[in-house]
Amino acid sequence: MIDISIVISGAAGQGVQTVEQLLVGILKMSGFNVFATKEYESRVRGGTNSTELRISTTRVAAFVNRIDILVPFSKAAIKHVKPRLSEKTVILADESLLGEEDAANYSHLIKLPLQKTAIEVGKKIYSNVVSVGAITGLFGADPEIGKKFLRQRFQTKGETIITQNQEAFDKGYVMGKELKDQGMVDFTIEPTEGVESEILFNGNQAVALGAIAGGCNFISAYPMSPSTGVLIYLAQHSEEFEIVIDQAEDEIAAINKTVAAWYAGARAIASTSGGGFALMGEGLSLAGIMESPLVIHIAQRPGPATGLPTRTAQEDLNLALYGGHGEFNRVIFAPGTIQQAFYLTQKAFNLADEFQVPIFVLTDQDFVDGYYNIPSLDISQLSNKKHIVETADDYKRYLLTKNGISPRGVPGYGEGLVRADSDEHDEYGHITEDMEYLRPAMTEKRVFKRRKLLEAVAESPSLVPDAEYRTLVLCWGSNYHVVKEGIAMAEKQGVSMLHFHQVYPLPKIIAETIQKAEKIILIENNATGQFGKVLTLELGINIPREMQFLRYSGKPWSVEEIVKIIQKEAL
């Protein structure tokens, strides 16, 4: 396996993102597996951000600490990633950035006339494209792909801009090719058959796309990093898919609008981050008593309060689990792959519709901003089943049935009246004070009967690589790829990962799978082991504190860190 990590770093506004997007596009279309993940500050200009691109002969989708090629856009950028540099790291920088002393500090320093070339071509701003060309050259990819891509991207900007970009790219390409040909650097990597026609979506897009596939036609959301991408993506496709977009006045409005939209027959989603969700508790509880379907996407970030708005964490599982007052059921998905994000979100709409409970899709910054090529999203097997009934004259919204599901009508479909109530109610939905019969019966329906149904359809975790293990590494959500790759890299026998893409409720039978292991390791991205507590309460599994590897710095786990844990702890 050949696997090269390229890090581009610079201030916000310097074009790190443009370079990332161009490179990812060009390299994917050149047949290389690509993965991109970024880290950035909560500001629009300045500071220092970075993007990691991995180019590989196999599929990779996790953050590695190692940097093979660094493309810094500022002196600060080099300092920013300094702890990650090794003797092997090739630093590819504009000549203006590097002083005499740097040559002594870094072994593989390559100064290129990026800016000078850009100015020659037309404008200083093209230096980003020069560097894109240089990297493409380093890999010996077909320059025509790059030029085609640039044409496509700058299509609307006019012919001069297009050709100047292409020229800048070409000049960079020559520099890169030369470095390669001269043996200054050696990143020989063969393209993989088929990759060039694969697709790329990031986590937010996969959730949004899953929502569209789930029939979503209504979103009310208040912007909040890192969740805003879902709102944006749905807005941008709202005309194609006929979606009501409401940028809500606040998160309380958003959740109430979402519940009410379901009431009136829409398929609606609320999308926010932890702080926004902390305002939605009462509305969530409303869905609980109204027995309303509801889909909520929470893109987690480190708290408390504003915390680190653009960083990553898995700190809001507890809140998703226990948010809202009173008692009612819910389901929590936590996708670990782009495919899971898509399919689970699509499923969320149908599950919500069928069981009339809130379904959460819990992601985080690391997950929503990351992307990599996947073969496709196969929608041929998907369908949406609406569980709406045509109401008869004497319709009872909260009919007490044996299995605990009251057939759901919507206003205007049928002869009945649909009366939804936030008070405790009778079967018609009318306010009641009956504590002898109705209150217990409605509670049993909402709490016990639903729980049984939901447990029965709970998704099983993924056991990877296989069913023979002595050490089992438990994780959930965004840690899928990093743990999987960490296990593979650690090259220890008998280590498997059990990854939960549904974190609540859990199928009871999983306890056996876990207990079969001689040693259990838990990996989470929070300080208190929130999922570990779910395992204790749901399955009776207790993981000692020393075997809980908890990170709460705002950064994702790196493959190297997981490798280290496994090498040290696995049997």
Binding site: A213, S220, F241, E242, D246, N256, L417
Partner: protein
């Protein structure tokens, strides 16, 4: 089935949990009269409310009901209308619910020109929680919480609605049946957001603003008032010694929220009848292959 459009049609059989003499009874009656006169079938009607005494009104009215959270009736109503514009959506809630807890939603739904009727039974008190000041309570009124009297500037819903660019702004005094029913009807017929602030008495908790007090402190706006003149409307809204009743401001033709959304650009059927366009979705996914 042929319906007999009478006030009774809209009445529900349950006992009403209001105090005898409560102003909510009267407004309930007037609302039903207006619905009957407009012949709105209960199955096309959604009543939305929050929590409070006024907010119990949908419980007692035949139609669909969304009895949501305290203060959150307006976002719910807006969403219901946007999910199914064929429905007539009427919010009936209290002054505390609408202007206190729900203040931000009041502003935001006016900004959207949400196509709903917003009837606020304004008794200048928190009735259900037994008598604390509401945003509209008058300065100086004493309660068990405002022990030395209310010190806040009373919220002026009409002035704020007019400042916000609301397209239908009215006040009623239900003691004036004819005007009240007529205004509710016009509010329902109005396309866009319509505010009807209604002076109702809370006989148990607000001894100051009685039926008699409201009667003595209101007058009907005369025909000389130009309802399209925002400045004049604002002047009327600022009259507080003797409160004008009637339509203060009205603007026709301003687009409403739902009709400006992508969902209704090319077709009008309610959202519950729709499913995803799988072809388009497939095309969108495949388009990503060449990027």
């Amino acid at each position: 089935m042929e319906l007999d459009f009478t006030e009774k049609l809209y009445d529900m059989p349950q006992e009403k949990a209001w105090c005898p003499g409560c102003g909510h009874f009267t407004m309930h009656k007037h609302l039903r009269a207006a619905l009957a006169e407009l012949k709105i079938p209960p199955k096309n009607l959604v009543l939305v409310s929050g929590i409070g005494q006024a907010a119990k009104l949908p419980q007692y009215t035949r139609g669909h009901m969304f009895n949501g959270l305290h203060g959150r009736s307006l976002p719910a109503a807006m969403a219901i209308k946007a999910a199914n514009p064929e429905l007539t959506v009427i919010v009936t809630s209290g002054d505390g619910c609408s202007y206190g807890e729900g203040g931000n939603h009041f502003l935001a739904q006016i900004e959207r020109n949400a196509d709903i009727v917003n009837i606020v039974n304004n008794n200048m008190i928190y009735g259900l929680t037994k008598g604390q000041a509401s945003p509209t309570s008058l300065r100086g009124m004493k309660t068990h919480v405002q022990v030395t009297g209310v010190t806040n500037e009373p919220f002026n819903p009409l002035a704020v609605a007019i400042a916000m660019g609301a397209t239908f702004v009215a006040r009623v005094f239900p003691g004036n049946k004819e005007q009240t029913v007529s205004i509710i009807k016009q509010a329902i017929q109005h396309k866009g957001y319509a505010l009807v602030d209604s002076f109702v008495q809370c006989v148990s908790m607000n001894k100051l603003n009685s039926f008699k007090w409201y009667k003595e402190h209101t007058y009907e706006i005369d025909d000389f008032h130009d309802v399209t003149d925002r400045q004049a409307a604002f002047a009327k809204a600022l009259e507080t010694g003797n409160y004008p009743t009637g339509i203060l401001y009205k603007e026709e033709g301003k687009p409403v929220f739902w009709e400006q959304t992508a969902a209704y650009e090319s077709r009008s059927e309610p959202l519950y009848k729709r499913d995803v366009d799988w072809e388009k979705l497939k095309a969108m996914i495949d388009a990503k292959r060449s990027i």
